[in-house]
Amino acid sequence: MSAVKRKKRDGRNRARFASGPTGTVLRLVFSLAITFFGLLFVTFLIGRVLPIDPVLAAVGDHASQSTYNRVREEMGLNLPLWQQFFIYISNVLQGNFGQSVLTSNTVLDDIKRVFPATLELATIATIIGVVLGIPAGVFAAINKGKWPDHMVRVIGLAGYSMPIFWLGLMGLLVFYMKLDWVAGPGRLDSFYLDYIEPTTGLMLVDTLIEGDMDLFWNAVSHIVLPASILAYFSLAYIARMTRSFMLEQLSQEYILTARVKGISEHRIIWRHALGNVMVPLVTVIALSYANLLEGSVLTEIIFAWPGLGLYITNSLLNADMNAVLGGTIVVGAVFIGVNMLSDVLYRLLDPRARR
C-alpha cells in the first residue's frame, strides 16, 4: 500500500470517527472542557483583580509584617501568576475551593449544603412552569385574539410585572398566616430540623429515603409556596414563548397538509405543531431553569430558604472571596451543564440538527 493511499484511508477513518456517535460525545466533552477552562480563567482573574487582600482577610488587620509575609507565602501568592493559576485549577478540579471565612467550613461543604436546596426549589418550579406554561401558551395560540388568549396574556404580564418580594410576602400573608394552608419559611418546621440525615440534600428525597411520611409532607408544605411563586414567573415566560412559537408553526404549510389528510385538530396541534415548537422551546426552558438554579436571592431571603443565592449574597456582603468564587464556579458549571443538556435535547427533537 502506498503512503498516499494509507494517508487517504487514515483521513477517511478520522472523518468517520468524528461523525459517529462516539465523535459527537467526544466533541461535546471537548467543548465542555474548553468552556469550563474559560470559566476558571475568569474566576481566577476576578479573584486576583478584586481589591480584597486574601492574606489580610485571613490574618486580620493587626498581624505583624512577618506573619503577613509567612501567610502570604503559605497561600502561594508570592509565586508567578501562571503557577498560581495552575495551582488554582488543580485545587478546583479536586473540589478544593478553600475555606469560607464566614462559616469556617470548607466552601465545598457549604455548597454541598446550599446547592441541593436551590436545586430542589428550581426543579419543582420549572416542572410546574412547563406543565402549566406549555398548555397555557398553546391554548392562547389556538384562541388567538379571543378571551382565553387575553387571559393568558394578562396572567403572563402580571407575572412579569409583579415584584417577587411583594408576591412572596403576600403569599405568606394569605396562605400561611390567614388561611394556614401551607407552612411558613424554611425547609422544614424547626423542631424537625436535626431529624433528617442529608443523604442527597434534597429534602423531599431524603425524607422519603428515611420513610418518614410526616416529615415528607412537612417538607412539601414548606416548598409549595416558594416553588409556586418561582413557577409563576417561569410559567409566564414559557407560556408567552410557547404562544408565539405556536402561532408561527400553525401558519406553516405542513399544517395545511395535515388538515388536507383529514386528521384531527387535536393531533395537528399537539403532535404536528408542538413537535416543531418544542425545538426552540427547549432552549427557552433550559435557560429559565438555569436562571433559577443560580438561586433566586429575593425568594430565598423571604422564605429563609438556605440556598445558593442566599449563600453567595451573604458571602459577597462579607467579602468572603473563596465562597463567592466557589459559588460562581458552581453557577457557571450549572449553566454549562444545562446548556449542554439543551443541546442534546435539541438534537433529539430536531432531526435536521443531527449530523
Binding site: 406553516q252 404549510e253 405542513y254 395545511l256 397538509t257 395535515a258 388538515r259 388536507v260 389528510k261 383529514g262 386528521i263 384531527s264 385538530e265 403532535r271 404536528h272 413537535g275 416543531n276 425545538v279 427533537l349 430536531d350 432531526p351 435536521r352
Partner: protein
C-alpha cells in the same frame, strides 16, 4: 370515462376580510367535474389556488366562502361540520401541495406521515399500515422505499419529496385529487417525471384530478379540459385538445406568449389587458 358528475360548483365566491377592506379572490366560479382531469390555469392572484382550497374547506380563517351550490356526490360541501369535513378530506378529496420543502413536517419521518394519512381513514394495525406505505412509496417509483420510509423530509431531494407527497395523498384512495402547482418548485427535468407518475396513478385508480397551474402547456398535455381564470373569474372553458381554438383574448394572449421552438426568433408579444375581462 363515465359522465357522472362528481363535483358540482355553482357561483363560488371567496372573500377575504383584510384591514384594507374585502378582497374578492374568487368571484362566481362555476364548473362541473366528472371522472376527468380538469386544468385550472391563470396567473398568480387569479384565484385558482383559492378555488382549490375552497373545495376542501381550507380557506384561511379570515376568508369567507359562499356558493349557490357546492356538492361532491351527495355531500353538500357548503355546510359541513368539522367532523364531517374530516371524513371528506384525505379519504375522498385530497390535495397535493406545492413545495415539499415546506409541506412536509420536518420533525416526523416520512413513513410516519404516510401511515398517519392512511390510518386516519382505514382501521388497520401498524404492521399492515407500514406495509401499505412502503408499497405506495414503491408505486411512486422510489427505488429504495425502506430507506425513504425511515428518512426525514430534509434528507430527500425535492423531486423525491414531491413523490412522497403524492404517495401520502393517494394512499387513502380518494376519488378526487387537487394538485396545486405540484411541480412548480421542482427542476424542469424532474417536473415531467413527477407529472408522469401522478398521471399514471390517477389513471390507474380512476381518480378525478383538478390540476392547478400557471403553465398552460403542461396543463393542456395532462388534462382533458381547461378552465382559464383571470381576476377571480373563469374567462374561458375549453377542451385541452382544442386550445388553439381559444376565443377569449386573454387565453389567446397567454398562448402567444409561449416561445416557439421552430426558429421564430421575433420578440414575444406583451399581453395587453383589458378592464372588461375582470367583469366576467
Amino acid at each position: 370515462m363515465s359522465n357522472e358528475t362528481l363535483l358540482s360548483v355553482k357561483n363560488l365566491e371567496v372573500t377575504f376580510n383584510t384591514p384594507k377592506g374585502d378582497v374578492h379572490a374568487v368571484r362566481g366560479v362555476s364548473f362541473d367535474l366528472g371522472r376527468e382531469r380538469l386544468g385550472i390555469v391563470g396567473e398568480s392572484g387569479s384565484g385558482k389556488s383559492q378555488t382549490g382550497r375552497a373545495i376542501l374547506g381550507l380557506t384561511a380563517a379570515n376568508g369567507k366562502i359562499t356558493a349557490d351550490q357546492m356538492t361532491f356526490h351527495d355531500v353538500d360541501l357548503a355546510n359541513l361540520t368539522p367532523k364531517q369535513w374530516r371524513k371528506v378530506r384525505g379519504a375522498r378529496i385530497s390535495m397535493i401541495m406545492q413545495d415539499p420543502k415546506y409541506s412536509l413536517n420536518p420533525v416526523m419521518t416520512i413513513g410516519d406521515q404516510i401511515i398517519e394519512a392512511y390510518r386516519e381513514h382505514h382501521k388497520v394495525n401498524a404492521k399492515e399500515a407500514r406495509h401499505r406505505a412502503i408499497d405506495m412509496l414503491d408505486a411512486v417509483k422510489i427505488r429504495d422505499p425502506e430507506r425513504v420510509f425511515n428518512s426525514y423530509p430534509h434528507e430527500v431531494s425535492g423531486g423525491m419529496g414531491q413523490r412522497v407527497m403524492i404517495a401520502m395523498m393517494l394512499i387513502p384512495d380518494p376519488e378526487l385529487i387537487i394538485a396545486d402547482e405540484p411541480t412548480s418548485a421542482l427542476d424542469v427535468t424532474v417536473q415531467l417525471q413527477v407529472m408522469a407518475i401522478l398521471d399514471d396513478l390517477v389513471r390507474d385508480r380512476g381518480m378525478a384530478l383538478i390540476f392547478i397551474s400557471h403553465d398552460l402547456q403542461l396543463v393542456s398535455s395532462f388534462c382533458d379540459r381547461v378552465l382559464v381564470m383571470y381576476q377571480g373569474h373563469v374567462v374561458e372553458e375549453i377542451k385541452a385538445s382544442a386550445l388553439h381554438e381559444a376565443k377569449h383574448p386573454y387565453t389567446k394572449g397567454l398562448l402567444n406568449c409561449l416561445p416557439k421552438m421552430d426558429g421564430d426568433h421575433s420578440d414575444l408579444p406583451i399581453l395587453e389587458r383589458e378592464a372588461s375581462w375582470a367583469e366576467g
